[in-house]
Assembly symmetry: C2
Homo-oligomer: 611 residues x 2
Amino acid sequence: MPIVHFLPANVEVEIPAGACIHEAAIRAGLLDLELPCGGQGTCGQCLVEVREAEGPGRMVVACQTPVAGDIAVRIPDLRERELRIAGDSRALVSEHLLPASGELAPLCRLVRLTVPPASVEEHYSDWSRLVRALAIGEGLPVSAPLAVLRGLADVLRARDGKVTAILQETSGGIEVVEVQPDHTAGQLLGAAIDVGTTTVAVQLVDCETGRVLATRTSYNSQIRRGADVIIRIDYARTPERLNELRALVLGTINALIAQMARDAGCDTRLIRAAFVAGNTTMIHLLLGLPPRYIRESPYVPTVSAPPPLAAAACGIEIHPEGVVAFAPGVGSYVGGDITAGLLATELAVNRSDIFMFLDIGTNGEIVIGNAEWMVGCACSAGPAFEGAGIQCGMRAAQGAIEHVEIDALGHVQYRAIGGAKPAGICGSGLVCLLGEMLQRGIIDQAGRLEDSFAGRFVVEQAARTESGEDLVLTQADIENLVRTKAAIYAACARILENVGIEANAIARVYIAGGFGRYLQISEAVLIGMLPDLPRERFRYIGNSALTGAYIALLSREHRRKLAEIAARMTYIDLSSDPRYMDSYVQAMFLPHTDLNRFPSVARALALTRRS
Amino acid sequence: MPIVHFLPANVEVEIPAGACIHEAAIRAGLLDLELPCGGQGTCGQCLVEVREAEGPGRMVVACQTPVAGDIAVRIPDLRERELRIAGDSRALVSEHLLPASGELAPLCRLVRLTVPPASVEEHYSDWSRLVRALAIGEGLPVSAPLAVLRGLADVLRARDGKVTAILQETSGGIEVVEVQPDHTAGQLLGAAIDVGTTTVAVQLVDCETGRVLATRTSYNSQIRRGADVIIRIDYARTPERLNELRALVLGTINALIAQMARDAGCDTRLIRAAFVAGNTTMIHLLLGLPPRYIRESPYVPTVSAPPPLAAAACGIEIHPEGVVAFAPGVGSYVGGDITAGLLATELAVNRSDIFMFLDIGTNGEIVIGNAEWMVGCACSAGPAFEGAGIQCGMRAAQGAIEHVEIDALGHVQYRAIGGAKPAGICGSGLVCLLGEMLQRGIIDQAGRLEDSFAGRFVVEQAARTESGEDLVLTQADIENLVRTKAAIYAACARILENVGIEANAIARVYIAGGFGRYLQISEAVLIGMLPDLPRERFRYIGNSALTGAYIALLSREHRRKLAEIAARMTYIDLSSDPRYMDSYVQAMFLPHTDLNRFPSVARALALTRRS
């Protein structure tokens, strides 16, 4: 039987060949490996580093990786795992959607190559031989700054043509930004950045291997100037205030980048490229573009698909000459976060089945379509599911309650991220909690708390919380959550009616958003946020904007796909749709005024109430 | 009969309809209009500005432009005409080779357009609508710096979408570098720059109309560090000296640009693009690229086709963010000056006839081929024909003797540029002089001065020269000129033998070079510099590198053709050809040791000697 040697615990166990690493960890008494996804290999919480014999280590998901022979397994320490809370993009997305590591064409690349010497027969210039050896293909023009050309002759001759080149993608081609003699061991990093209205998430990526080195999230500091995009657009009316909002979000992004670089133990100047996904307003504020026309009819932004820019010009603190590229948006209310998010779905492999894609952040965006056509719309959901505007709400970080169960006696059981004392409730926890409260009759279908709770439901007593205060959900919180879910459901209903498709025709529903590590779909259907479809049609894909930014950072093919997606999508403006408001009002009940739309919920509620 | 009103002289004459403007000028007693090309419309010396009724003025060649109705004609003053000595590119090249002014796609463009407003149906972003309205086509990616995007929303709305945009071509696409509200009257200029080993020539071009506003030439200040590329390459061995040579040529170029801008009364910051043609060594020195490998086997430069660069990075003093593009070279000794020069030939209209192209500067470069294939070679001619290394030599400027006749009695008649006192002899004058001296028996076929001249032939007495000293051609000068012409002829002979083509199969011979305004072909054949072919097959195309840079500055189509020409050409290295030296020694006679190669010269010499 193969032997698995766990590090840093230094424990060895024997297990049958074919058993997975996670089983070995349990046998070894190592309980560090949480499996919030139930061992489906989707949450990335059980990532471990495997070393076989002499080769380099590789990261695998312990719950899905069988043991064939003797191996050493390093379990990342808790600190490292905490960073992965926003979701490791590589783990969150199906392997077949990711570019194979041999086929990466990242926004910035470190290439080690050997440039053949010239001969009397083949007397191409140093630059031509370098460009040929780079074999970039596709007829892309290749350029270089003068500094590179000036050193080139000597660099190519220093080590028999062995060189290490750094390439960056520009608006129309490739720029060779550095060439050093010899094959150096240097690392070249990229950043995937998701700029949300409420939350900003960044991921540090090794551009050579595609490996995620660190992940960080925090609230967007702009929140102090308004919870949603409309308030911020109004705030940014003067150049000074626009500048202030720009500085705030840059402060958030740059602090995260700096932390991330510290986590990975590297210099931010090694980061040569960033791929940014964000909604149209966030991108305007980040770039200092006046956003006012976004909210004035006919609602056009200055730019939906910003061209790539130099990092120094953007104010993003990576290498100042690094390149910052942006996911293209479709319009004022369907931005680059959505097109990037679609990269994280099977759309990228050209399925013809009809899918629905929901990105639930402060704005909810919904796309329906297939590889041939796509229709998108947006609704104002509010930041409740990102933990903002809820008394004990918080983003999905250490101590956030992400899962709740209430038994028939009203006892609450929960799971907090990191196994720590609870500090608040994140989006997935709120959905869960609301569903459980409805099922146990703690709230009624109108969302009213039973009188005995006196307007507040205690999830955990002060003695056992991080803050030393009761962790509660108030009547106002509940109303906020109901409005949020109603806005989302109404948009789903209207877009379906608009394209003339029955909910049942949808083969797959992708749910993205800042819920934390996972969202319990059945609870989301229970409260009437999502249409009542067989559970296996839903797939929670986490922070898909970040995942999409990660994929686009690494693959030119996917950057091209992004442009295609943006070009192919039609936008429907729900704010000018008189029937949207009706739809919204009908959805202000749990799950809905029309229970025929939620047959499985009707059955479940009837069953619980009977018991 | 139509009336022609001349300005600034304020003289009116009546002439028959259909007579040309030049005839009218003679009738009016205005003798300002020189016709060194004999009225063939090729020298550009008689350019005048014509105004009909209300329309804008247009520049025409007086010798070729018939008068149909009443017109006003402004004769540019002498100062202006002097600037045109290096040749007005527009006048020097056949009209059908030039891009039509409606089809210009210059390296930088000023575009006045109206961007339609967005509507609820067509809610494209401001940037998308601008890019659509620009209609750049060809799928070229369009980018913009942040500053342009930041102002865009307001600029587009200030004057109902009427805007003036400035575009620059980048390595892979187009950059919108400025957008101003309204249709402004501003001018956008470009510079065509020919960086020769001995002479630098620049031309200021209105990028909107293609009109040449000013032309300036001067010696390359690097001359003080060596007369030819080999000496300069050796000089540039250390970074300090390379930097010194770079500063010298930049000094020359920038002084010319500043003078040119003064001539045209405009700010150098209005110049947003420069197109540079130069031999490979000159481009290396200009960019500060170490040139040493150009002269070490296997003779490869750092770069043959430099990517476009920012003006500030190059050190060329136009708008600092302007773009500087380069004519692509073929190798170490066939540079961008040659590919640019080929643009000034009918090659550009895809002729299948075999042509020969000779660019006679300090290096002589020869290309033979047709639209399908091209073979190029180079020889070291020395700077004699550019007036350097010859006691009374000078470049083609005010006071340079450009044409000489010697009668049977030995009396010398000459024409100096600008009708001024003679200051020296330029290339075309030297060729003429040598031919006349040979024909009159003042020198023999070995180039020896008849003993009675005591080693110096006086072209003009001290009393009548600019300097107050005799203007002479010495025995050493003659030997220098013979070596130069021999190097050129030997290269012609070897390239013909190499490709296995008889001289007589050549349908057209283009002669380019720094000879001044024109070269008397018959005299060049007489001294055995050019092969003995019917005179009508030769065409003198002046400073074709400058003309090519001018065309490429204005036309994207021609920039593409340049890349094609560079890609299609094969280089033959004469320095490793053992038979080149034999060929050279045979050509050290006037015209040649083998008079069978020069039957027409043999006949002419026999005839003169008999008389």
